[in-house]
Symmetry: C2
Subunit: 378 residues, 2 copies
């Protein structure tokens, strides 16, 4: 056996090849950096969907030509692109500004997690930002006087109160926005206390987000929509995806996807605590899907309990929904207590019919996330 055919020498070859790979990626990021600068000169956004699609199709087709799995190259390239968007968001890079006006942005609660993210993005786009919290009210009049955009980014339970407190300083030119997770009463308060443009917003991500590319911001335009259109464009330039709906649509959906889901996760975790079965044993004996489900429960408890209490208990309609949910569980318990397999299958099929294509897409999409976790398993 020649030296080039021993396992050790093959492994050494693999190591040098991996170094070439890293050198190539370094070159790639340098090109991306150059492209990012050019895009700013051209006034283009950080993220181009068409370009991403081209890059992915290109590597998939080249992979197929070379007899490599297209899904591999797609996954690898998506991971590289994620980092590319991050590189384009480094401090020295400035995003194009979607308005010729020079008036400042005021963020009330701008030192909170969400406020800080948007503050940074506005600043990187050449806006002057004035942020103040509970201690800055003495200067509120001065801050707001010549501002154009006024964003309320404070905890949900004080949002309406803060809007009311702002009212003496609100002027016709202001675009008044909020970032809260409930839109009905908040948009109502904004319309009541401000006579100018009102735009409800709900960024659907946490303050730990790395950048805004592909992140959803729900927009609820409530008055003079055209006047705030440049602000929506600005979010899009940062890479965000805008979903426009009414306050009612938003709140109805959030009762389910926030309040109900959080309650159910909280309650499942709380029940595991009561059972007191070792998490280590459960995790060890789990398949990838159970491990992810356990993680989805566990991760809730690593976060702020107050935030979850506020979201769950923020409205009577949330409580009504949770009450209905618990009743529905009792009915389902009856089905399994009676060993009624027929009814179980009938309910199952009705639900499948309701989920429609989403069920199958969910199976394959979540499969890719599970594969990622499986890759990491030690």
């Amino acid at each position: 056996m020649t030296d080039s055919n021993t396992l050790d020498s093959l492994r050494a070859d693999l190591d040098s090849l991996d170094e070439e790979l890293i050198a190539l990626l370094k070159k790639r990021f340098a090109l991306v950096q150059k492209a990012a600068l050019l895009k700013i000169e051209n006034g283009e956004g950080a993220f181009s969907k068409a370009r991403e699609q081209h890059v992915l199709e290109h590597v998939e087709s080249c992979a197929r030509d070379q007899g490599l799995p297209a899904t591999l190259m797609r996954d690898v390239m998506l991971r590289i692109l994620r980092e590319s968007y991050k590189f384009a968001g480094e401090d020295e890079i400035i995003y194009p500004k979607c308005t010729k006006e020079h008036s400042p942005v005021v963020i009330v609660g701008g030192n909170g997690g969400m406020g800080r993210i948007f503050r940074r993005y506005f600043e990187l786009s050449g806006y002057e930002v004035r942020a103040f919290g509970s201690k800055g009210w003495d200067n509120a009049e001065t801050y707001l006087k010549d501002a154009r955009i006024v964003i309320v980014s404070v905890p949900i339970d004080i949002t309406c109160e803060v809007i009311k407190r702002l009212s003496p300083y609100l002027k016709a030119q202001h675009i008044l926005c909020d970032f809260t997770s409930v839109k009905g009463p908040v948009v109502e308060a904004m319309l009541k206390y401000h006579k100018g443009t009102v735009l409800g917003l709900h960024p659907m991500f946490g303050p730990d987000v790395k950048n805004l590319v592909k992140q959803v911001i729900v927009s609820v335009p409530a008055r003079n929509e055209e006047d705030s259109a440049f602000l929506i464009r600005q979010f899009e330039v940062w890479g965000a995806k805008i979903e426009r709906c009414t306050a009612e649509e938003h709140d109805k959906a959030m009762s389910i996807i926030q309040a109900l889901r959080h309650f159910s996760t909280y309650s499942y975790g709380h029940f595991l605590y009561k059972l007191n079965e070792s998490i280590g044993t459960l995790y060890k004996l789990s398949s990838p899907i159970y491990r992810l489900e356990l993680m989805m429960v566990g991760r809730l408890f690593a976060q702020d309990p107050r935030l979850y209490a506020d979201i769950i208990m923020s409205s009577q309609s949330n409580l009504e929904l949770i009450r209905k949910y618990v009743s529905a569980l009792k009915e389902d318990l009856c089905t399994v207590e009676h060993g009624d397999i027929e009814e179980f299958i009938e309910n199952f099929n009705k639900t499948l019919n309701y989920f429609g294509d989403f069920a199958h897409k969910a199976l394959s999409d979540s499969g890719r996330a599970l594969a990622k976790l499986q890759d990491e398993r030690e």
Copy 2:
């Protein structure tokens, strides 16, 4: 502006660089293929944890040297390695066989999903495999006569019956195994109807698995453990991770991670059906974490209802657990109905304390799976 500095020319450069990347990966897989063949000659398994660790540490440290994010190279390399293990599992490759015996393996139910996977692995390792289903019983005696390993891989509700039916053909040399998700009664039946070696097994993955690398197989040795040790080694050679426990430990954990969790997911989906809120709207307005939660529910309904009914209703202790769970939910409903934030936070903190470090690890680990889904978002 020179040509080399226009966005179009930079993008063309990026495209050629991506082609170099693919060429390099093609070379990498060729080396991996060579290494896989050598490993078989040396009698080594498909997956070496130490080698994986080395490869990851090497790329992470090179990335840091080059000013690239180490996490990027870790993710990219894990994805490449996943494919490498798959390459090593192609049909022409043979795994080392962990026994010198030539006696065949019999798989009862070998044409089902799980049976087929193991059949293929045994065959790729040089075992003769005899698989039969409900129609093969006439030849059962011939199939089993000179076999060494006899695996029962049939639906849970008929497993004990099948074991009983096998009993006239079972001989002292047989290692009798099963693949069912309940171990207590099944292991008991195997001990009753077979006087030789008994090994309960529960592969913790679905029949859609690409390969066995890093997949968990729970092992419940019930008689003559040393006699079946070579079989456990065989699973490890295929890359599986063996978790050894008692039937009681296994069943207690499965009541929670299978029956309870499936019931809770089924019931949540069934409730969404009753609410009849558009899945499209819910999905569109969701953050990455809610999208994943919706997927975890939706994916259940793309699968076999009978399987879930069987798992949930397979034992009285499952029903007892689900009953307790529904009672616990009623208590939690009381807490939120009374707006008792203090109690909610107290329960939350007790649960966090129960989850311990897992909660924080779950937050970061699931964050990586979520980032993968976010990368894919269109």
